[in-house]
């Protein structure tokens, strides 16, 4: 229906997460309608990001160059490492501005049904970082899902005896209404209650 070049663009856009056929078409028509310069600047941005952004050689989060912004920042506290599943998980933790340590991105979570084994995650790299010394605490911030919890307990096992390992608490969202929370969340919040 569409000329082959346009069809190819639609097809490529459709492969993006959260984009279906219709959205892909809308985006493609949009790119054809705007000025050539505007359309090409998107293409250039894609090219540039692929050429310049790689993984940090220490923590495996996104980096322009050898080290990411966090790892190259001398003011960060090197005695704490926060372990997350994906590079995008770094963003919400950084937004809190209350964590001053470094990160370690595992690159996923253990999930045998998806064929993800410990060897597929950057766990040996994490062990090596801790073994190198100076790490007083590893904070496991994998998602509170089944695969995230399994990953957390695996990380805790391999690091046992090497350093202190803690897990992100789970409980009620701030500003949320108790009435709307599910039983599991409330149950965990109860289990993790604190003295006032």
């Amino acid at each position: 229906m569409l000329p082959p070049a346009a069809e190819r663009l639609v097809h490529e856009l459709e492969r993006l997460p959260g984009v279906g056929r219709r959205t892909a078409q809308r985006l493609a028509f949009h790119l054809l309608r705007v000025s050539e310069q505007e359309a090409l600047s998107l293409a250039e941005a894609v090219r540039e990001v692929r050429a310049r952004i790689g993984f940090c050689t220490v923590c495996y989060s996104l980096a322009e160059g050898e080290l990411c912004g966090t790892c190259s920042d001398a003011r960060r506290d090197r005695s704490q490492i926060c372990v997350v599943e994906t590079p995008s998980d770094v963003v919400p933790i950084e937004r809190t501005a209350s964590f001053r340590g470094l990160y370690h991105v595992l690159g996923g979570a253990l999930s045998p049904i998806d064929g993800v084994d410990p060897a597929d995650l950057r766990i040996t790299e994490l062990v090596a970082r801790v073994a190198a010394g100076g790490v007083e605490e590893v904070i496991v911030a994998t998602n509170p899902t089944m695969t995230g919890e399994a990953t957390a307990s695996y990380v805790a096992t391999v690091l046992r005896g090497m350093t202190r390992v803690t897990r992100l608490a789970s409980g009620l969202p701030v500003g949320g209404d108790l009435e709307f929370a599910d039983e599991v969340t409330i149950g965990r919040a109860l289990a993790g209650r604190r003295e006032l």
Partner: protein, 363 residues
């Protein structure tokens, strides 16, 4: 709780129906295929947000109609409520309580309980352990809502562990990768075993008592038969001990997914030795035991929806059943003949070809 009124629009054989229910036992009378069970089903849908007969709501929409709607007026915890369920194929079901739309039909469970008997519920006694486990988990969730989440979590962990067993057997992954999944499985498994045994322990004496009340010979028991009893540590130890066998077979061979519940009368397993009538009585005793437990725990009796309970029972058992049901408050009971009821019910609804009418002035 009590259902005072039910309005039905384009539901199965009903174009429209508007009925009121008596406080005690209401008999729904009609010939085969007249729509007795459909009326019970509509009441269940209005009260719980789902049909007890099918998981495909589209089947409940009247032939040729675009949507269905069921509404009920319910008195619960001393105040009256309007609940309505609307469904149009292809659009998410809409459940509203007192004019407010609910996020999920599960929210209705916090307000009242509806216990239903359909002839296919005999499977709980007759069929494989999986049916009894499913029943036990439903009953447990009605008492402890968090149980359902544990069961889902356990099932997911089991799928992961079995997938991993296949990978280990194929030599793709070292066996040590099983450690974490054993821990997850043991954690959820132990929670399930504990909750199931709490339910069985509470149900057992009530079940025995109800079965006698229904005319059983006595000496009946309900026993939880966990494949593996114990806490998280025991489960973990058992999983580790079985690891070799599990890898060979690539399937997890122990845990609450293999539990059973034994229902017996005078030391005979009702599943194997029970007659049709005895099995039916046992399922009803189980339902009435649960009703009693719900009254104890929640302070309010559930409504009982009983489809075709009187068939296969002798006159004595029928009389005792109705007497016991009466103690429980409100019940809707379908039957082909009003004469099957041992005593006059509190209300009679006559169903024929998609219309319902109260029977006027009985003699």
């Amino acid at each position: 709780m009590q259902v005072e009124r039910l309005r039905v629009t384009q539901f199965r054989c009903y174009e429209r129906a508007d009925v009121t229910f008596a406080a005690g036992v209401t008999a729904i009378v009609g010939a085969n295929g007249a729509g007795k069970t459909s009326l019970l089903e509509a009441a269940h849908l209005a009260l719980t947000g789902y049909s007890p007969r099918t998981t495909n709501d589209a089947r409940c929409v009247q032939e040729g109609a675009a949507f269905l709607r069921v509404e009920a007026e319910v008195v619960a915890r001393g105040s009256s409520h309007d609940v309505s369920v609307g469904f149009e194929p292809g659009v998410p079901k809409r459940v509203t309580l007192d004019g407010k739309s609910l996020r999920s039909r599960d929210q209705l469970d916090a307000w009242w309980t509806c216990l239903v008997f359909l002839p296919d519920r005999l499977a709980v006694v007759k069929r494989a352990p999986a049916v009894r486990r499913a029943y036990l988990d439903r009953a447990t969730s009605r008492l402890e809502p968090a149980h359902l989440t544990e069961v889902l979590a356990y099932t997911r962990a089991l799928t992961q562990r079995n997938a991993l067993l296949r990978r280990v057997r194929a030599g793709v992954t070292p066996g040590a990768a099983l450690d974490v999944w054993d821990v997850v499985l043991a954690k959820h498994g132990a929670a399930i075993i504990a909750a199931r045994s709490r339910t069985c322990a509470a149900l057992a004496p009530l079940f025995a008592e109800r079965l006698v009340a229904l005319g059983g010979p006595g000496g009946s028991t309900l026993t939880y038969r966990p494949r593996l009893d114990g806490g998280e540590k025991d489960l973990l130890a058992a999983l580790e001990a079985r690891r070799g066998v599990d890898i060979d077979r690539a399937v997890s061979g122990t845990g609450p997914h293999m539990d059973d519940v034994l229902l017996s009368e005078r030391r005979r397993d009702l599943r194997v030795y029970g007659s049709q009538g005895e099995q039916r009585t046992a399922v009803l005793a189980l339902l009435l035991a649960e009703a009693r437990l719900i009254v104890e725990r929640r302070g309010e009796e559930p409504i009982l929806l009983l489809d075709d309970v009187l068939s296969e029972l002798d006159t004595g058992r029928r009389r005792r059943l109705i007497e016991t049901v009466r103690e429980h408050g409100q019940a809707l009971i379908t039957t082909t003949e009003v004469a099957h009821l041992p005593e006059p019910p509190d209300g009679v609804l006559v169903v024929s070809a998609g219309s319902v009418a109260p029977l006027v002035e009985r003699g």
